[in-house]
């Protein structure tokens, strides 16, 4: 699904009328199957942007098109159909605590299942091999029948990401997928997500605080600051100065290593730096 935003403005749902808009004048074009990472300091409006793209929040001004059409002009049933084709993974994994991992993961497939099959799946999960496959990509297949509240925070986050693999969506909107993962698992998850998105030609928009991960795995990086797009460049063109400008008043969110000028230009792979953002 391709995305077109033009002059978009959106407010935070609980913001007062005097507060500045969460997103101002956003213009963006994404083709089918393109993967993009959005980076920026906290409060820049990354989550609001994802909410707007997921049709969870109405923009106040500007144009918004998904697959060439304005979703807010659709009828209820057409909008529901469109929603089945997108997937939003919030930062806090939306998993009911006492549900089992297999049911939580299979819930991602609900838009494509009939009502009878969905209800039957509650008694006996209908597609356990698919759930196993999806969890296997994130190295969690041994937790298939465990309860969600018995998992650690990082494991829960990976289950939330595994749901995306089962959904019939052609647009993935992922909010901070790596915030609770250690570097090795973060790499594994990112590789799995980007690889599968590539394979299935899925458009993916991910917000990240881990700038190095973004630079490594994504070809296109968008920088967001105070609700406006600061840059929209291929990852090779994102320099240290641009990053420093982006995180101007939030240097603590960038590790100090990233701000230092590169001493060795020949170094092919930059050493991964753990970003402590919160």
């Amino acid at each position: 699904m391709n995305i077109e935003l033009s002059g978009l403005q959106a407010r935070h749902p609980s913001a007062s009328a005097h507060a500045p808009a969460a997103l101002q004048g956003i213009s963006l074009q994404l083709g089918v199957g393109e993967q993009v990472a959005i980076i920026g300091p906290s409060g820049a409006g990354k989550t609001t942007l994802l909410q707007v793209l997921a049709c969870a929040q109405r923009p106040t001004h500007g144009e918004f098109r998904l697959g060439g059409q304005d979703p807010w002009r659709f009828s209820t049933s057409e909008l529901r159909c469109l929603r089945g084709r997108l997937f939003l993974a919030p930062q806090v994994p939306p998993l009911p605590p006492r549900q089992r991992v297999v049911t939580s993961v299979l819930a991602g497939r609900l838009p494509a299942m009939s009502l009878a099959a969905s209800l039957r799946s509650l008694f006996y999960p209908t597609n356990i091999p698919a759930a196993y496959e999806a969890l296997n990509h994130f190295d969690l297949s041994d937790k298939l029948f465990d309860r969600v509240d018995r998992l650690s925070g990082g494991e829960r986050q990976r289950v939330g990401l595994a749901r995306a693999l089962l959904s019939p969506a052609s647009l993935w909107l992922i909010d901070e997928p790596l915030s609770a993962l250690d570097p090795m698992r973060a790499r594994l998850a990112m590789t799995a997500l980007v690889g599968l998105a590539h394979e299935r030609k899925i458009t993916m928009v991910a917000t990240l605080h881990q700038v190095d991960m973004a630079l490594t795995h994504f070809n296109r990086i968008i920088g967001l600051q105070k609700g406006q797009i600061v840059f929209d460049l291929p990852s090779a063109q994102v320099t240290r100065e641009r990053l420093a400008n982006l995180y101007e008043h939030h240097e603590h969110e960038l590790d100090s290593d990233t701000l230092q000028p590169e001493s060795d230009q020949d170094q092919a792979v930059p050493t991964p730096v753990v970003m402590h953002c919160r």
């Binding site: 089992r100 008694f123 006996y124 999960p125 356990i128 091999p129 196993y132």
Partner: protein, 284 residues
């Protein structure tokens, strides 16, 4: 979805993809269904009986007699008087219940034990507490209707039997819950006061009550609302109030009066509920 490779193929057939919780769910479901059958037999549960022509006619006639509601001045004066009697019975009952519950909860609360300050409670204080708790549980377990039946034999018909019945049952309920509330939360401040020589009542007033007063008051108000409903029930065995009027009207198949009384009662409970919610919110 990619097909599982050969090393995983045996997993499919090896039962790794079997849901382990299914057999236990099936077991509990069959147990529940098997238990349901004797229950329906024991309670002679035959809902289709309600649909038999005779019963339908009786029901229809009774429901039809609800309209028009009886609302002449004399009946409404009677209803107002009986409503006040119901509320008065509940209030008096809960007040007497407090007189009973407060000393008993103080005796039952382990947090006020002097001997428990230094290790285990001594034998006799523990026994006393156990006895008081058992008394409270017994008082709480006997339905107030049973007490009312007994008291009606002793003191005769009238609100006295109702007030006594509510006092005893609610005394048990309030006492037990008060003791539980006092024991919940941290007891550090209470024990410190007692260790430094203050008396038990002083420790109660200076340490326990300030932290738990809101919860105690809130529960009491909730029980007062329940007592209003209980006093209507007690009216059926002769304790007066709205319940007795309702019983009389039903025996005479006077649907209009029954409907008015039911409506008045629903409004009364709704008002008591509103007062109770407002109070509880104001307290917390």
């Amino acid at each position: 979805m990619s097909t599982p490779n050969s090393s995983q193929a045996n997993l499919v057939f090896g039962g790794k993809f079997r849901d382990p919780a299914f057999s236990s769910r099936l077991f509990w479901l069959s147990v529940a269904i098997l238990l349901l059958w004797p229950l329906t037999v024991a309670t002679e549960f035959r809902p289709w009986v309600l649909w038999e022509p005779d019963n339908r006619k009786v029901t229809r006639d009774f429901l039809a007699s609800f309209w028009p509601l009886v609302h002449d001045a004399e009946f409404m004066r009677l209803v107002a008087r009986e409503t006040w009697r119901t509320v008065a019975m509940a209030t008096a009952g809960v007040t007497l219940a407090l007189v009973l519950a407060i000393p008993m909860c103080l005796m039952a609360a382990r947090v006020l034990s002097l001997s428990a300050l230094s290790g285990r409670m001594d034998r006799w204080p523990a026994l006393l507490r156990w006895c008081v708790r058992a008394t409270l549980i017994v008082l709480r377990s006997i339905p107030e209707l049973v007490w009312a039946l007994v008291f009606v034999r002793v003191v005769g018909l009238g609100p006295t039997a109702g007030v006594l019945a509510i006092a005893l049952t609610y005394g048990g309920m309030l006492g037990k819950v008060y003791a539980e509330i006092l024991e919940s939360g941290e007891s550090h401040s209470t024990h410190t006061l007692m260790r430094n020589g203050s008396g038990r009542l002083q420790a109660l007033v200076y340490a326990l009550l300030p932290s738990h007063a809101a919860e105690l008051a809130s529960y009491t108000v909730y029980r007062w609302e329940c007592a209003i409903r209980s006093s209507v029930v007690l009216g059926f065995v002769g304790a007066g109030g709205l319940g007795q009027q309702l019983d009389n009207s039903m025996k005479m198949f006077n649907g209009g009066e029954v409907a008015t009384l039911l409506l008045v009662f629903i409004v009364l409970v709704a008002m008591a509920d509103a007062v109770s919610t407002w109070l509880r919110r104001a307290l917390s």
